[in-house]
């Protein structure tokens, strides 16, 4: 799939929506206006968009504690997500899940997840469904550098290989698992480790939407064709702390600033498409303000939306109640 003008706009729209979503939640959280344990993905947008642009609703992804970007990129409703994060009954999970559990199975979004690594076996299950039902759907597990050392992740690389599942391991390496550098926590080399499980693997610059998009194009084509699982090692960076409230003192001074200034995925995207004359600056600016409006409205909606009813405490435990 070559990127036409429409696609480029869509890609930018998705990335910009994520950024605005995250930046605004950051501010709202500082002011104490949203509850919960929140992990923001600002800085990592090119990965979510570059991958999900290749997916259809029937393809599944599973995400992590840092799931807003993946959810938005996979097509979850902005208002439904914002309502959820505000703990409202109109939220995607009726206010019962929150930031760490946003899910929309109708969009192929199997859930953010509070347990590091847990989304990966789940993704294998979605891939298994595709295999058994004989569709050509694929399933993508997003996970972090820290999650790369969980047993669930490692086992599933093997399982997916030997079961020949249509599954993609999207390792988003932002350099840290909480406060711990990936360079310390990961023994050996990421690509070699994946290959040691028999998985084709490649590294890609996660700040560059086009790099992610191109790599994923080839991967998804092969995986859909049934050649078995693959891994993408996507190098990127998160701008905010590990969770909202974390001052990120474990990062060298100025590290985040430098990445923002030199490699920001939105900036790079704008440069590329305007330099190449594919889109105009004015168009992108207009999109930016559309997105601001969208998020404004979502927040407005979320603030006004009703809380869950007391009785909701006891529903959705089993199929019968």
């Amino acid at each position: 799939m070559q990127l036409n003008r429409q696609d480029l706009i869509e890609a930018y729209r998705r990335m910009r929506t994520i950024r605005e979503f995250e930046d605004r939640i950051h501010l709202l959280n500082e002011k104490g206006e949203v509850p919960g344990f929140i992990h923001l993905s600002a800085g990592q947008e090119a990965s979510a968009a570059g991958i999900c642009m290749h997916l259809r609703d029937a393809d599944y992804i599973a995400s992590t504690h840092r799931g807003h970007g993946h959810s938005l990129a996979k097509g979850c409703d902005v208002t439904g997500m914002m309502d959820e994060i505000f703990a409202k009954s109109t939220g995607l999970c009726k206010g019962k899940g929150g930031s760490m559990h946003i899910a929309d199975l109708t969009k192929g979004m199997l859930g953010a997840n509070g347990i590091v690594g847990a989304g990966i076996p789940l993704t294998a299950g979605a891939a298994l469904t595709a295999k058994v039902l004989g569709t050509d759907n694929v399933a993508v597990a997003f996970f972090g550098d820290g999650a790369f050392n969980e047993g669930a992740t490692l086992e599933t690389m093997n399982l997916a290989k030997v079961m020949n599942l249509p599954m993609i391991f999207a390792l988003e390496d932002n350099g840290y698992g909480e406060a711990t550098p990936a360079s310390w926590a990961i023994g050996g080399d990421v690509l070699e480790r994946a290959k040691g499980f028999g998985l084709p693997a490649q590294r890609v610059d996660g700040h560059d939407f086009f790099a992610v998009y191109e790599a994923m194009r080839g991967v998804v084509e092969q995986v859909r064709a049934g050649t078995g699982p693959q891994l993408l090692h996507i190098k990127l960076y998160r701008y905010y702390g590990h969770f909202e409230g974390d001052a990120a003192t474990y990062r060298p001074n100025g590290e985040a600033k430098k990445v923002r200034e030199e490699k920001d995925c939105l900036m790079l995207f704008r440069e590329k498409v305007t330099t190449a004359g594919l889109l105009e600056k004015a168009q992108l600016d207009a999109l930016d303000s559309d997105v601001v409006t969208l998020i404004d409205q979502a927040i407005e909606h979320a603030v006004a939306a009703p809380k869950p009813e007391p009785g909701d405490l006891l529903t959705n435990v089993y199929s019968s109640f």
């Binding site: 995607l92 009726k94 019962k96 899910a103 199975l105 299950g125 298994l128 086992e155 435990v317």
Partner: protein, 335 residues
Amino acid sequence: MSVKSFREALNESLRQEMRRDPTIIMIGEDIAGGIGGAGEEDAWGGVMGVTKGLLGEFGANRVFDTPISEMSYIGAAVGAAATGLRPVADLMFCDFIGCCLDQVMNQAAKFRYMFGGEAEMPLVIRTQCGAGFNASAQHSQTLHALFTHIPGLKVVMPATPYDAKGLLTHAIRDNDPVIFLENKLMYDDKGEVPDEPYTIDFGEANFTRDGADVTICALGRMANLAAEAADLLAGQGIQCTVIDLRTASPLDEESICESVEETGRLVVVDEGNPRCGLAADVAALVATKALFALEAPVKLVTPPHTPVPFAPNLEALYVPDVARITAAVRDVVKD
């Protein structure tokens, strides 16, 4: 209707359900056995032979052997259940839950709730439990209480071949995650089992004996021992009501309380660990909901709060038996 073993009853349920619904799959370690090898393809049909022949009938796109990776394949079953299949996963021994609890406790059990109702989880995990096989501390546990403690799970433990088939069929058709515990000593137990498919509802206890003096609650293999004890005691003038609970979650609270209202006495027999176990749970139910019916202290017949010992003579002391049950009943009726 014909006489079948527990093993055959389970196999028949799986076979009939898989014929009925092409989205039902099976996944586990050596549930076929020999996969990828030069030997016989369906070499085992599970360590206990329960799934024997199913690979042959349904093929390798319905019956999946896996590497030894519980977190991963149980998790895959959970993910498959959320996305359109109805997996019956096999966890060889329930003792191995320690290798995959997260996918059961934090994923399968919580999806529906966390997602505000927008998830189905038609997952069955079949697993073995029970001591008496000299299999020692890591292959002899009976962990239904651990599962019962987790909201969102259903927990089943059949006592007879008839119940095994009916409850498993129900479990497969149920849209919630079900932990289905099979006592490893019972696979060769025999009983009348209808040939056609049928289901037994969850949360509906089975009154296997009727008597006015005391209520005995149990499930799984212990329900059979309780019935044996009741028969013995009947000969000695003590009439017991025996309630086979069938499912630990949901629990048929009503039947228990009603029976205790009638008999005034309660003995709970259970093979799980006593602390925070199912026996305590049933006792607490009565202490909160039918206290004034009690004419004697509740008696719990359980193993001691220890791991399962290896030595057969110790293991025999560990597992509740008919003698301990009758002694407990005699104790409560004399008060």
